[in-house]
């Protein structure tokens, strides 16, 4: 009797979770199917009509997207912003993380506490002053400007994460390397970086995603020649209905990269997002 009830309960749980799963998939499926329909079809009926008339589906929107100079430029800008911003954060934070964990310099503890405090500083507070600063430096409206801003606001978390990871390394390992006469640089590149690979991977994925998906920072710091995909698409959103044949495939292209990264590096991804959520 109990087993029957438990079985029934489990059946209900399964059914409930299936429904939740379907609900979660529907918006994404809707976007994908919409991206395969013409603006005219979208104006005349919902994406679910493709199940009765699959003739609407075509990749025309995507080939049009390839021809669209603005969109392809924006796509490359996104790459040109995300990749350097990720690499720079990883390198700079790894250097600093190692120093905070194992090297001796005045004010080490106090400075690191400041870094911890900076973890939750909202990006918004930096927009105006940094815009002024970049204006004076000629970085406003350029890709390097966007990259630098992302690097700076990614650093507190990156340094925090890597310092804590490096600090877990056994002391004997480092002392042995120093006894062998290895320079700090050598120890850093040959020992610390390889040992820190899991944390570095999580950090890199989190930072890449953060920058790739950003709209706010680029909205201010990029001009029309350097703007990434998010900003380019955002500028077309006012005429949502008539631009849907650009917006839907554009949004899909912009999300397909992070989703592929997500499935390729599930574990690092989840760890990175978990750790980075304090931001």
């Amino acid at each position: 009797m109990n087993a029957v009830r438990r079985g029934l309960g489990n059946g209900l749980v399964q059914a409930f979770l299936v429904v939740v799963g379907l609900v979660w998939m529907t918006p994404l499926a809707g976007l994908f199917l919409s991206s395969l329909r013409s603006a005219e079809d979208t104006a005349n009926g919902g994406w679910w009509t493709v199940f009765t008339s699959p003739g609407q589906l075509s990749f025309d929107n995507y080939s049009a997207l390839l021809e669209n100079a603005g969109i392809s430029q924006a796509f490359w800008n996104t790459v040109l912003i995300s990749v350097p911003a990720t690499l720079l954060v990883v390198v700079i934070a790894a250097l600093a993380g190692y120093a905070f964990a194992w090297l001796d310099f005045p004010g080490r503890e106090a400075i690191f506490l400041v870094v911890v405090a900076l973890l939750v500083v909202p990006v918004q507070i930096g927009l105006l002053p940094v815009a002024k600063l970049f204006g004076q430096l000629g970085l406003f409206g350029t890709i390097p400007g966007v990259v630098l801003f992302h690097v700076a606001y990614g650093l507190p978390f990156a340094v925090f994460l890597l310092r804590n990871y490096f600090a877990e390394m056994p002391k004997e390992m480092l002392e042995a390397a120093r006894m062998d006469g290895g320079s700090e640089w050598r120890i850093f590149t040959r020992l610390v970086l390889p040992v820190g690979r899991p944390a570095i991977a999580s950090l890199a994925i989190f930072q890449f995603l953060w920058v790739w998906n950003d709209m706010l920072v680029a909205l201010l710091f990029a001009d029309s020649a350097s703007q990434p995909l998010t900003v380019e698409l955002q500028s077309q959103i006012r005429q949502f209905g008539s631009n849907i044949d650009v917006l839907a495939p554009g949004a899909f292209v912009s999300l397909v990269v992070p989703v592929v990264v997500f499935f390729a590096f599930q574990r690092h991804f989840v760890q990175g997002v978990m750790a980075g959520s304090v931001k």
Partner: protein, 454 residues
């Protein structure tokens, strides 16, 4: 003696040289250490610390930045209706979203443990975390479209509504003036005169396109010819329009169609005493009516405009709608984090409770939730911090005219500083407010870190 002295001296010199070398190498080590941290400190100092200080200072100056106004910008924040609205909406966000997410995450984390495909489910729900707010915004702009023929949400709402309420078949139908039917204030029609059992009536309507007629509609002519039996009140509802012309107004002509599935009521002394539905040829009949005079009524539900669903992105619902999109993105996060806490729970406590005959609900209430409290707190706080800074989703999903109804602190800060407001004094004050709101989290982080170092 001298020799020893010399020896001593030279040893002293050697120690001195050793000390000197040690000091030099320590200095070298410090310089190297500073070189390691320098890039990070430079960027953090110039682009994070300095801007924070600058914004705090700037928030005490007016829009042009030339006149010191003290706390005026902060006072303005609570006077300006738009900013006040933003504060109110951010409060709604902070009160509603983290609690919902933590609750939903907890329920799903507990339930998903019971199925074999837990990993697949977790992946599916976590995936939206990889999607940008912009893409999510576009996804939900589509889903929330007001037209039930375009927005999936309204399509669902309308079909559920229609399944329970039924649809009106003739939203456009109306009666010609002076043809014996009077329109009521509730959209219904009733006969001007009265009828008694044993009589029959014809009720002619117009305004229905032949193409909009139900497929099973038949001509009403034969039914209109039929005579009512004793104690029977009968009649026909028909479309008083002959396709292709001809025909006479107010009469059932040969080719004129009946209007099936129309609700008809017999009314006596203002009360509906009987109700029926017309057949394919538009005919209806009431049997077993008491003698007396009746009016025949076509209730307004026959002519109601079709239900159009919910205006998700209208001024009243826009914030809940955007919170809905936010739930889609963050539920997986809450579920996975709580799930990790769940798998770290002591198995014996749960097993012991089960042995004692506790049911699943009691175990959940009395054991799982209290033991999970620290994890739930971390999830909740994390979400509060993130919710306070929400920007993109509001900026993208709220359509232009509704933008000011949906505005939150981050979007308001943007609008005031860069989006036309051009008041960087007030903008800076809003930025500082955002910073002040996360200071508790800042203190919490620093405390926790110092605690972990002891």
């Amino acid at each position: 003696m001298t020799a020893t002295l010399v020896k001593e001296a030279s040893r002293g010199a050697a120690v001195g040289a050793g000390r000197e070398r040690a000091r030099r190498s320590r200095r070298r080590a410090r310089i190297i250490a500073l070189l390691f941290v320098f890039p990070a400190l430079l960027l953090l100092g110039a682009l994070v610390v300095y801007p924070v200080l600058f914004s705090v200072g700037r928030s005490f100056f007016d829009a042009s930045g030339t006149r010191f106004v003290g706390g005026e910008n902060y006072a303005e924040m609570f006077r300006d209706p738009a900013t006040l609205k933003a504060i109110r909406n951010t409060t709604i966000w902070v009160v509603v979203a983290p609690a919902l997410l933590t609750g939903l995450g907890l329920i799903l984390a507990v339930l998903v443990e019971k199925v074999r495909w837990a990993t697949a489910f977790k992946l599916l729900l976590f995936m939206p975390m990889a999607v940008s707010f912009l893409a999510a915004g576009i996804i939900f702009r589509l889903a929330y479209d007001e037209d039930p023929d375009k927005g999936v949400l309204n399509a669902a709402v309308v079909s559920v509504h229609d399944a329970f309420q039924g649809t009106s078949t003739y939203p456009t139908a109306r009666a010609r003036d002076g043809q014996g039917l009077a329109k009521g204030t509730d959209g219904s029609y009733r006969t001007n005169g009265t009828v008694s059992p044993g009589e029959s009536v014809t009720l002619g309507l117009v305004g229905v396109l032949p193409a909009d007629l139900p497929g099973d509609a038949r001509p009403a002519y034969t039914a209109a010819e039929g005579k009512a039996g004793p104690g029977e009140l009968r009649g026909v509802v028909y479309l008083d329009f002959t396709p292709g012309g001809g025909g006479e107004q107010g009469k059932v002509d040969r080719r004129e169609s009946g209007l099936p599935e129309m609700t008809v009521e017999a009314v006596q002394a203002g009360k509906a005493v009987a109700s029926t539905t017309t057949a394919a040829d538009g005919s209806f009949r009431f049997e077993g009516l008491d003698d007396g005079s009746y009016t025949v009524k076509l209730p307004g539900s026959n002519f109601a405009a079709p239900y159009e669903g919910v205006s998700w992105l209208g001024p009243t619902l826009v914030t809940p709608a955007i919170i809905g999109a936010y739930l889609w993105i963050w539920t997986g996060f809450a579920m996975v984090l709580i799930g990790a806490g769940l798998s770290a729970l002591p198995r014996d406590a749960l097993e012991a409770a089960r042995m004692d005959g506790a049911n699943e609900w009691q175990i959940f209430r009395r054991i799982t939730v209290p033991l999970l409290a620290p994890v739930l707190t971390v999830v909740f706080i994390t979400l509060v911090i993130n919710v306070m800074k929400v920007f993109d989703l509001v900026y993208i999903i709220a359509p232009g005219p509704v933008q000011e109804d949906a505005t939150v602190l981050a979007t308001q800060m943007w609008l005031v500083s860069f989006g036309g407001g051009n008041n960087q004094g007030l903008g800076s004050a809003l930025g500082v407010l955002l910073l002040l709101l996360v200071i508790p989290a800042m203190v919490f982080n620093v405390r926790r870190f110092r605690g972990s170092q002891r």
